[in-house]
Symmetry: C2
Subunit: 252 residues, 2 copies
């Protein structure tokens, strides 16, 4: 039974608290939050504190706060020599204060307050300063997820960049599609099956094999028609750049 | 019982033939293909012809060929006054030869030879020159799909542009993620849950509400770290442009 404390009350923290709280192999002993009201309904009030001096004993402390606050929060912990990890994809393990043993516990997923996720399917990317601590993190991770990876600092940085492309930027493409639909009185729902199928395709096909559309076909007539159709300045620039990028990638 | 003939043997034609062939409300009387061998296994050989003079009587003829060939193929049909439609998202109905009654039967989906799709979920976008023909197309469409729309020419053009963004360009974002992973010895599979969840999110949230990541957070430190990390010229340009576009959209 691993005893865990979560520090933070944002999106990732809330989902992590729910997952840890419902795992039979983990004892979630406490959550530490500056604004405890954000965790209302997630955890019983007696398990939440905003006072760092009330933090209880645990095997692992998971700091799940904004990237910029990790160093400060880890420095404020009123103990030394314990295992403290952060959950950030884009922050070095060394950002954590060296007075404790350090590690990373990075869930590679996009979290919304409003939407539950299946934690079992979320890849957990682990790093630790020593092997014993890595084993503790692995045991904890395997209690939550079927998908546990040892990921170095450089790999995690790469993964975070990759995640921006496949998630944040893919979502921005959905936003462009929604905007075009709204401008022409078409329900965005009509694009749903296409969005879901495009995502489903790359579960079995490499994205380079799954690529379709006017760019990869070098259908210059359709490309020109689309560019004439698009008025929005950013949309035009995005269409032009991505068409060029798809065509150049094909040559490699 | 609507009698249908499909002309073409590409991806869309093959999927359409399968769907029509398995619908109890449709009689797929024939497929016309320049290269009949492409339809091997999809339809019995006696139902396939490459000879335009052998085309049989039907209620509707569906031309599913490359956009550039639609005009020519429709002109070659050895009959007049019948209902002839194309399946293209980016071609005007008027591209069809005026000697027949014209319409459009556009399935809004991405098709791969290798992957079966659930036709019931595919939005079918219909247009016709007159109401009686529209009703025929609607009956045919409803025999295949639960999602049938009346879509004008201008709307179909908008939809095609929207589809490029949410499908072709989203897939290109997946390709960037795959490339970054491959360059750092990380299996692309680790990104799958994130890709699927990002797509699943916009089934319930508007993409503008679903947007996460360093751009929307104005996390300039992470953005700069990512730009320093990215070497590839196109990737850098895409990262910069989409970050700018996400931030500007927020201001509107």
């Amino acid at each position: 039974m691993i005893k865990a404390v979560v520090i933070g009350s944002g999106n990732v923290a809330a989902h992590l608290i729910k997952a840890l709280g419902s795992s039979p192999q983990v004892q979630l002993v406490q959550a530490v939050a500056r604004r405890p009201e954000q965790l209302e309904g997630v955890l019983p009030p007696e398990k939440i504190t905003h006072n760092f001096n009330e933090i209880t004993e645990a095997d692992v402390y998971l700091i799940s706060v904004t990237d910029g606050a990790i160093a400060q929060v880890s420095a404020q912990l009123p103990f030394t020599g314990r295992l403290v990890v952060h959950t950030s994809g884009s922050t070095d393990m060394e950002a954590l204060d060296a007075k404790n043993r350090r590690g990373v516990f990075y869930p590679l997923q996009t979290f919304s307050k409003a939407k539950d996720v299946d934690f079992k399917a979320i890849p957990l990317c682990l790093e630790a300063e020593n092997e014993a601590d890595f084993d503790t993190l692995r045991t904890l991770a395997e209690a939550l997820s079927n998908s546990v990876y040892s990921i170095s600092q450089a790999q995690r940085q790469a993964l975070h960049v990759a995640a921006v492309f496949v998630s944040n930027f893919a979502n921005h493409m959905y936003a462009q599609g929604a905007k075009v639909c709204e401008e022409h009185g078409i329900p965005f729902a009509i694009l749903q099956p296409l969005i879901q199928e495009t995502a489903a395709k790359v579960a079995t096909l490499h994205p380079l094999q799954a690529q379709t559309g006017p760019a990869i076909r070098h259908d210059e007539k359709t490309i020109q028609r689309h560019l004439d159709f698009i008025i929005n300045k950013h949309q035009k620039a995005i269409y032009t750049l991505l068409t060029q990028s798809i065509q150049d990638e094909q040559k490699l």
